[in-house]
Subunit: 189 residues, 3 copies
Amino acid sequence: MIDGIKPIEQIMRSTSVIPVLVINDVAQARSTAEALVQRGYPILEVTLRTECALEAIAEMKTVAGATVGAGTVTNPDQLHAALDAGAEFIVSPGLTEPLAKAAHAAKIPFLPGIANAGDIMRGLDLGLHHFKFFPAVASGGIAALQSLSAPFGQCFFCPTGGITEATAPDWLSLESVLCVGGSWIETPR
Amino acid sequence: MIDGIKPIEQIMRSTSVIPVLVINDVAQARSTAEALVQRGYPILEVTLRTECALEAIAEMKTVAGATVGAGTVTNPDQLHAALDAGAEFIVSPGLTEPLAKAAHAAKIPFLPGIANAGDIMRGLDLGLHHFKFFPAVASGGIAALQSLSAPFGQCFFCPTGGITEATAPDWLSLESVLCVGGSWIETPR
Amino acid sequence: MIDGIKPIEQIMRSTSVIPVLVINDVAQARSTAEALVQRGYPILEVTLRTECALEAIAEMKTVAGATVGAGTVTNPDQLHAALDAGAEFIVSPGLTEPLAKAAHAAKIPFLPGIANAGDIMRGLDLGLHHFKFFPAVASGGIAALQSLSAPFGQCFFCPTGGITEATAPDWLSLESVLCVGGSWIETPR
């Protein structure tokens, strides 16, 4: 672990909702992070889907109380760019061996997406026990995650995708769920 | 690219529906292709599920205006057999590295099936951006493909499996969908 | 094949339901197996989710008429522990290459979980044609397995997860389904 970097489980246990953010204007990055921290969201995921995402991560991580990660990371190059920007954790939609190995080599907390038992087993083989369940609702919802959790008692999940403020508590009531990813959180546009 | 072979995106953009065909009688292959081209289906997928499928591909590709590919290709041997028969593109139910590498080496347009984010990321690692979403309805339907498309803005899809003439327009309205695979198209038996 | 070990297809065809067992008390292992065999369940899967699971397998396989396998096997170490305990077949929630290769090397009947076409194709590449469809209901149910069976006519399945006594016959009516995994079977606690 890099000094001061929290392991992924500690990050997941610091919050019940990780806002999944698409930042279109870097000028609003800092104020967005400040507002979210104040509203009780200390863990922020900035998706690499916009031009200014890396710059936004650099800005937002200067906000006191914010832990800022990069989302939609799909390959080692993007992972390294996110690290250079100061990302404190890495989230990916799916799990590949090259990406998992790059995260391991960089000693950065890593939350890869999984959608089925094969994904989880490949993750276990790579030493991973914490996963994003993505897309949560479209992959079969709570029933699917319950079924997947049964044989993998040592694994913990952050379901993301299609969850709403109304349904989040149902997901959070599962023992294997530490937090959920939320795209419903309103932010300045 | 082999001279005269269209890239997969061009093939996908040539039609809104690719008939997925199971040809049981090679004697009807040519007339089937002619009828489909006349009805506005220039791109035809012949599944390797019948004895005469390879022979049917060879027959059908002689029809003016028809671009004929092989479907249900699951390994490099089948891919090479399809190429020998004259297949102009290759469709597979899922994505494996050996098959993707064989398609790349053969410079043949390749449309592998995917059903989740891990599949798509493994495809991206192999240089692929065009995928069949299979089985489309049973894998979570339009909501699932929308969720999967969000982090993969650079990818395009041909949903296949369970789509009907009535539901095709809903799928085609997604920005990430270039065409759909249709097994509802009636052909001589 | 180890002498006396039945191939996986023979095991699957010996029953219509494989009880999926979580044994908490090894003292009840033998009587549970006896009762299940008497009620017409000759094939028993003991999941490696409890402390006493391996010991239970050793006990249960001494019961006349019982063929006892290990379930929830996720890596080669667990596979070897299960073999040492006398497991007669191995069931896993998902398919990974290391586990499949370990099963092949040990010549033990192997029933790995799959949930999509990519999984099945990776299985075919490893010489496998028999799969658990898991989690069956949450992965799209009967419609999903029908869609997946269409391009893989050479494959046979044991759907498991969410199936009930009431729904088992519907699953068993599919041509590609040889038996189902059942967790609804009541056993002593």
